[in-house]
């Protein structure tokens, strides 16, 4: 069965500093990978996705992620964090089951941004 590990429960960075959130997955085939962001009390918003092709994918809000098959990783990065980026970030792997697709999520990383 597939699984996702986000080893950092909580990260604090200063505004303007760079950010990297870690994600490791376990899946036997080529994975479909996602990063979602959740503000408090809100639903999840898709930041970016990897299906195939270029291993460096660009997303919304200046985020990017790099797929590294050899390390089973899909880390999220941002060169300069803004205070509005404070939120919880979830990595997910997608698998196809019959006519449905299912996502398995990591437990999330809460990002705090200090001014």
């Amino acid at each position: 069965a597939q699984s996702v590990t986000q080893p950092d429960i909580h990260i604090t960075v200063s505004e303007g500093a760079s950010l990297e959130l870690r994600c490791n997955y376990s899946y036997g085939a080529t994975p479909y990978l996602f990063w979602y962001v959740q503000s408090p009390g809100q639903g999840l918003q898709l930041l970016l996705k990897y299906f195939s092709g270029d291993t460096l994918v660009q997303g919304i809000k200046g985020f990017e992620a790099e797929f590294k098959r050899s390390q089973s990783s899909f880390n999220l990065r941002k060169p300069s964090v803004h205070w509005s980026d404070a939120a919880e970030y979830f990595c997910a792997v997608g698998v196809q089951t019959g006519t449905a697709s299912k996502l398995t999520f990591g437990t999330g990383t809460r990002l705090q941004v200090t001014l």
Partner: protein, 111 residues
């Protein structure tokens, strides 16, 4: 464009009472629909998914049930709520492979 609605936004219910949460999607047809639960400080747990009217797949045994009476309507129900049913419930939909779009969620507190 497509939109997804959930209601109510918040709900406080006593233990043993029934539950009905509703999710509707606009602007698309024949979506796959999903119910997730997010407990405090934890990730998302897939509860149910549906690939069509009347077709429900359950991911975990629990006190809840789901129904899909119409193409773009997905309902989460319980006959008798437990304290452990408290959480944030999210509905999601997809038409393409894997990419899911989430609703605003319902905060359920069982007292």
């Amino acid at each position: 464009s497509q939109t997804i609605h959930q209601w109510p936004a918040t709900l406080v219910q006593p233990v043993g009472s029934p539950l009905s949460l509703e999710c509707t999607v606009e602007g698309t047809s024949n979506p796959n629909l999903y119910w997730y639960r997010q407990a405090a400080g934890r990730g998302l747990q897939l509860l149910f998914y549906s690939v069509g009217i009347g077709q429900i797949s359950s991911e975990v045994p629990q006190n809840l049930s789901a129904s899909r009476p119409q193409d773009r309507q997905f309902i989460l129900s319980s006959k008798k709520l437990l304290l452990s049913d408290s959480g944030f419930y999210l509905c999601a939909w997809t038409r393409t492979v894997h990419e899911q779009f989430f609703g605003p969620g319902t905060r359920l507190t069982v007292l």
